[in-house]
Symmetry: C2
Subunit: 146 residues, 2 copies
DNA sequence: ATACGTGCAAAAACTTTGCAGTGAA
DNA sequence: TTCACTGCAAAGTTTTTGCACGTAT
């Protein structure tokens, strides 16, 4: 009970806590299925529906954030400090934007257009990760579309 | 047959052309369903499957771009000039990033981190649109999460 | 004539939900 | 005890696909 992430709701259960812990421990911004596959072996009586229900709860409580859908699966982040994300168009990897780039983004990009309030803390940047840059023939400059 | 967007593939059909034309005409970055609902009245013998198949084809040909999933539906853009997008977290509206902000983004944001090539032309910025700023109690500064 | 395009309906993939039993406080 | 949590399976949504027929070249 010591190192469990604080949640506003006092309601706990073994499985709920395990799901949040797994989400916070991981840095790969997993989907419901990925968390399920991680926990299922150690918690045999665990169902995917429970993962979905709890992820939804965490999102409501702001204990987790949805990063959008990548390759058909919604991805989540248990780190709730303000930060943006990088998504690899090659392999679908979801990464955190390094703090120094987050700062650059916040500082240099206008926070407001005439008609749109931009929340720079939720920006999603697309591109190609290290691995995909090495392996694939990735357009290194200019126009990249998927 | 005059003002139809050029595609590399020479294959045309009345419906295919109509779908691409509708996609390019609209500025709201529609989903398959939205295009279907627009065209169905004037093209009674049109099926949703055909919309999906053609959107997939356009994406392959790079005649259209997927902007990701908003509220459960994949959104598309027929404008293939390099540009980023704004998505309203309030109403799901998808808008183009104004050219001057695109330029700012390109200029000021590093194009490359050590391990990730950022394609600034595909950035998705989240925030709140004019209408939602007016109507809802939107957090005006700081941490916004959904 | 041949290859491609389409409607239709079935299936697939992901997520949500109702119900009845289990667990937490 | 009481209310919340969960498994299970059914249902809901969006998207994909197989097949037979229709259309473009």
């Amino acid at each position: 009970m010591s190192r469990i992430k604080e949640r506003k709701s006092k309601k706990h259960s073994f499985k709920r806590d395990a799901i949040l812990a797994a989400l916070c421990r991981r840095e790969d911004h997993p989907s419901a299925r990925q968390i399920y596959e991680e926990l299922k072996p150690s918690i045999p009586g665990l169902s995917l529906g429970t993962i979905y229900r709890n992820l939804g709860l965490f999102r409501e409580e702001k204990a987790a954030v949805s990063l959008g859908v990548v390759n058909g699966e919604e991805r989540f982040d248990g780190r709730t400090e303000r930060h943006s994300h990088l998504i690899c168009e090659g392999c679908g990897r979801v990464m955190d934007l390094p703090p120094e780039l987050q700062e650059e983004l916040d500082t240099k990009l206008s926070l407001k257009t005439n008609s749109f309030f931009i929340d720079t803390g939720k920006t999603v940047l697309y591109g190609y990760c290290e691995n995909c840059l090495k392996n694939d023939s990735v357009p290194i400059s200019g126009h990249v579309q998927t």
